[in-house]
Symmetry: C2
Subunit: 119 residues, 2 copies
């Protein structure tokens, strides 16, 4: 039997704004990578769009953000809100809260370079 691994998404959050978002891989499983992202006011550069070859599920855990999906309007996100971004769904983060950390859980499915699924 393997041992369980545990943690809290709300531990170790920065007390002040950071120069970059913080990325932590929590679990790298066959075909799936689960990541915590902590934003402190960052947003995607003007005109930049994520355009990934793999599906991503994101959950806003704490803080707030505004997501833009290409061809749709701004989408404000509050804690508990989730978004499924199928591969090739162009999206960007228009804003994250300036007043404190915004915590995301991201699940990347079928990401290139990840562990290959065993089928």
């Amino acid at each position: 039997m393997s041992d369980a691994l545990v943690g809290s998404l709300l531990e170790g959050l920065p007390a002040s704004p950071q120069p970059e978002e913080l990325f932590t891989t929590l679990a790298a499983l066959p075909g799936v990578r689960i990541e915590r992202i902590v934003s402190t006011g960052q947003s995607s550069p003007d005109g930049f769009w994520y355009d990934q070859e793999w599906d991503e599920f994101v959950l806003l855990v704490a803080g707030s953000a505004t997501l833009q999906v290409d061809g749709e309007g701004d989408r404000p996100l509050s804690p508990g809100d989730w978004v499924l971004l199928p591969a090739r769904t162009r999206h960007r983060v228009a804003a994250t809260a300036a007043g404190g950390p915004t915590v995301w859980l991201a699940v990347h499915a079928g990401e290139p370079g990840g562990t290959t699924g065993s089928g």
Copy 2:
């Protein structure tokens, strides 16, 4: 481009205890299934252990619970706490909060019967 799908883990929660836990599949992706579970005081039957052939990542989103992993002590869980349960990690839910809904996000990786990963 595929359309994004959205929702909130905190919407549609029952106002009173339910006879069973509520399970909702949010996303069924190649090799990965993402599920919301809502508990209203349920726990695993005495002596029952989950013993799955696949890896599971669980996040406690709201409420509280006590998880037991075989061979370890009770593990109280608060919002933001996550647990990675590798395949064959025997575990059970010893308790969930009686006072209101407990919301979990579960990520099942490599679950039999799920969509096969594309590698």
